[in-house]
Symmetry: D2
Subunit: 360 residues, 4 copies
């Protein structure tokens, strides 16, 4: 739809500023009769919440979710599901000293220019705090997918700064993602990444990286050509996440230097299942899922907030020096893992419902 | 919004199969009073049309556009603008021998699975021929942008196979893009690319590559957080184009290995204009344009159609060998340059109109 | 969606001005595998076309429909279906003398004010000619409904000027609607209506009236609370038709003066079918169809174009006298019968598809 | 747009069941910089709230509104505005004895059929309680309209049961609507209406009626042809309100029996203002406002809940007798006055924003 709503049939509208009363989501179009375990919603929120480990921001939010509507006796009613998460640990005073400053690489300047005013407290609506609502909604989408399909979404950190996994998703233990605080299934690399993040934090600096996503057992037929291709909507979904600067799926950027004869995926049939011998298509052909694994990479830039003096200007156009005090993540990737997963779930849930109207 | 419609306020609906009677577009939401030069529409279609050079498909289509409605005395009326392009050089017989085959890395299998039937003639709706309608609509969006803003979109081929430009967009003569048939503004590299494409074609093989886009003089304030960020919609737009497997803007994938202190863009003010010293943000912050150049890369996989024997299966699940006969491009990038430009124009035109409702 | 698009899943976008090159419709979201008989589309267009009888306008249009896309071998492909109807009998010269005048009760003034310019030729986009595209699209919706449900839509003229049917739809032979040129199933009243229309035409005057619609065998469950109630969308659909000033369903305006104890519909069960003893609800409760007959009335004002001298003003604000020369219908109701039917079909087809996503 | 969202640019999504934790609304697309007086929101909610007078339901709800987001320092931020209203006086036990019964003329049966389950407590989502969220959102729309235009919306009860105002809106003191508890500006008729409602309540019965709306000083140009006509969206808006069975504007149903020569509105010009001599068009021509008064009637059926024994069936299909105990309004019209006003405000606010994109 538009602005703060995502999806066509499984539609999520989020609201809330970083230091306002609350943030939340309204999910409209969720079919009735879905069994909802609220603990699973809370579990995903806990994976995203601040203060969960030594390498995340120290802001303390319990991020306790309340279901206000749409669910009765643990089942969806077919009516809108409203989720509410209160903001608890607000420190607007942290932002008083920069209330008229445009922080480098933040949305302060663009929000101020577009809207003529802005909520300077923690970035207001542009804050990554808004993604908590996405994670809550995504947890409902995941329950929908579990009950309607066999598909499984896994996302993990595959790069932090210059430390990069060499193994691809098939060579990694995807059930071990949450066994370390950086959410990287390669234990050795995980330790290196954690160390790198700690060093950056101690230097008042920040890091970017890459999150890899894998969707397995996806039903054939998801995606609506030509402007709601599954890949197009996955791409859009990822760029809705703060700090994302790149997305590729299947053969991606690397595939651009290949020949067709190298890159094409021949079809094979085995036991009545149609598959492809290779999977450079990344599970999507002509914008529609073909049943093979969908895999993709999401590139995050380093966190904009750093604890270093930086030159910038303020609302009056004066050149000033700022040194932000707000609590922040030296690297957002560990906490972004459930966000990438949630956005993928929202896209897939929407397409599962839309696919019901494809054939007579 | 959905399926075959793109945009919220400047909405384009396209229709048409590769070998049906015609393809076309209906543009709804274009403001009245826009001066339209139909020659400019035709000019863009000519840049995309088949048979334009030795390195494109030999299919012969004049791609003459007819305006059926919405324009009177060279001005838009505020009513829907319908564009029609007839299919002239149809050779459905080229596809008779593969009408039940699933061509590798094409949409044959997924369309058949999703819809239970398909138009096998040249890929039907999944054909890149549908992009002619996009280019037509984009040419109207460009006239809107010219009359309402100063922004300027330039797109060019920056990589074919393994041949890659080393210079960035600021070092290239962007007014020379159309001076060679591969649409690369580096004359030396262009020759190498053309040679590479000719060799691939002679081998019955195909190539992918990268198209780079630059949007200059973009007004500040385009983009609607949080789910209609300008970057998110540009990304989506590009993945709607056939064969696209990757998109990055600003610091992109490379930025993921940088530190925040390296990647942040400090704000400066000069003569009343607010700018950033560096531009790793790629002209977009918090999903909203900040007035700096927007630059991005779009990765295309190699063309799926190759003139080589390939293993695959047919609708009955039998293993077969096919060797496609349909006319095709050994490398789609030269013709995709105006398509990337058109999709960018559609996104920008939509956001220019939407921005009118941002402030009181 | 918006402006010139109707429906959410079964989406129809229409285009075209009265005296432009052509009018048409693009239907997106129609499921694949639907058998389409183009003759049935043409049949509905013939019921609406001008010049069909002595009581309609003398404009001569064959209104021959061309299918440009979306259908192959008489089956829908799941891709957009484009319908084209050329304008043949254009007499723009009829409108030259009033090109700067605002005809009373026409859209000349409002279009000019809103858009800053207008296509004065026959009302341009505001012309009822645009409804031909609706009728074409509706004929596809009807084929969808026939193949997916048992529902049946009947619409007929129940009032012309002060001549009004006393019988309700249950007492009338609904299979006789097309046996007379006014499309009223009461043969006696039909004659009176025809006579009244002929008299009005001879006087250069015009008439309004009421069209009654009945939807039988509607599946239970159509309608999406709270803002896409079936009744709300039927109402909206009817007000999209030129000249409509009123809509009521079920007990309607008359029911407002009843007591609840008179108006309530008690539920009964017979042979496993749940029904209501009375049907003041008009087949819709809480915005959702309950399986009983849906019946409604649509009020049309008299045609605005009359062949009498009238005072008005022109674009310069000067007071003038006009006496329109364009061909027109003395009473639009006979030709509006298939339009009401088409709009109802569009609403129902959309809700049938949407209902597929209601339950898990 | 869809299901629980209303509007295209000024978009309201509501949520909440009658006896759940809370109801609320999220308003997306409200421009930044709008001054918001929360007291004005509360004032409209107070006009709608239960228990406000002797002729309304005795359910006690303070309907205190909380603003969760989108407003900072009494100004809108351009981000979604979330309103929350807690349900306080829930008596789900009132509904225990009918939890498997289908109450006559309620939505129990249709919700159960459509969704396979339902929230039986007070009608769940089908309850008129959901309109409190509409009234809250409408109060924001009204502040937008006040700050952007001069338009003024007035709505009042013009009929209860068989008691009907003979005077039209021009002959009535529209500033006196709230001086009596039935919200009818004719003091004499108001007393009769109140007496009639009290008698009906004492008999355990209920009444319907008509609400008349008037929009004055509406800007010229609101409405988007052909499927988002201002009249079409006003009609749809009204049918979204529980119990509405009819809508007419301008000459309405009565106009259907007139001749064109009687019904046409001649244009006149006075002091640079273009107006019409008569106003049978009801301020809308071709779906676009012409600056004259927009006036309309909304027909409500009598409240479905009556305190009389009624025959019906239950979920097992058994015939039963019920006598509802839930608190209810003997006549909803006095409390529906602010709801009609709110829905009209939502439509107008949306069209005011959309009109910004009409011209170049």
């Amino acid at each position: 739809m538009a602005n703060n709503t995502f999806g066509e049939l499984f539609r999520v509208t989020t609201f809330g500023e970083s230091h306002g009363a609350a943030i939340g989501a309204v999910i409209d179009g969720c079919p009735s009769g879905l069994e909802i375990d609220v603990n699973l919603i809370q579990h995903e929120l806990d994976r995203r919440k601040p203060g969960q480990s030594t390498i995340t921001t120290s802001r303390k939010e319990s991020d306790t979710v309340q279901v206000l509507s749409g669910i009765h006796n643990n089942k969806t009613l077919g009516s809108p599901i409203a989720l509410l998460i209160k903001n608890e640990d607000q420190k607007p005073e942290d932002y008083e000293h920069i209330k008229t400053s445009f922080r480098p690489s933040h949305a302060d300047f663009t929000y101020f220019s577009k809207y003529g005013l802005r909520d300077y407290r923690g970035g207001g609506r542009s804050s990554a705090r808004a993604t908590a609502a996405i994670v809550g909604a995504g947890a409902i989408a995941k329950q929908l997918l579990t009950q309607l399909t066999k598909l499984d979404i896994k996302t993990y950190v595959s790069q932090v700064g210059k430390i990069k996994l060499e193994k691809n998703y098939k060579e990694l233990p995807l059930d071990k993602i949450d066994t370390n605080i950086v959410r990287c299934p390669d234990e050795k690399k995980a330790k290196d990444m954690i160390h790198l993040i700690e060093t950056a934090r101690n230097n008042g600096d920040s890091l970017g990286g890459i999150i890899t996503g894998v969707i397995q057992n996806c039903p054939v037929g998801l995606g609506e050509p030509v402007f709601d291709k599954l890949n197009a909507n996955l791409a859009k979904a990822m760029f809705c996440i703060n700090a994302v600067h790149g997305f590729e799926y299947g053969s991606g950027f690397e595939g651009s230097s290949k020949y067709g004869s190298e890159n094409n995926d021949e079809f094979i049939e085995k036991d009545g299942i149609i598959a492809t011998k290779t999977n450079h298509s990344g599970g999507i052909q002509g914008g529609i899922s073909n049943g093979m694994d969908i895999y993709f990479n999401v590139a995050f830039k380093p966190t904009s907030t750093i604890k270093k003096a930086q030159q910038t200007i303020n609302e009056k156009g004066e050149h000033i020096t700022i040194e932000p005090e707000g609590r922040h993540d030296p690297c957002v990737l560990p906490r972004a893992v459930p966000i990438v997963e949630a956005m993928a779930a929202l896209v897939l849930a929407d397409h599962v419902l839309r696919n019901r109207a494809a054939k007579l």
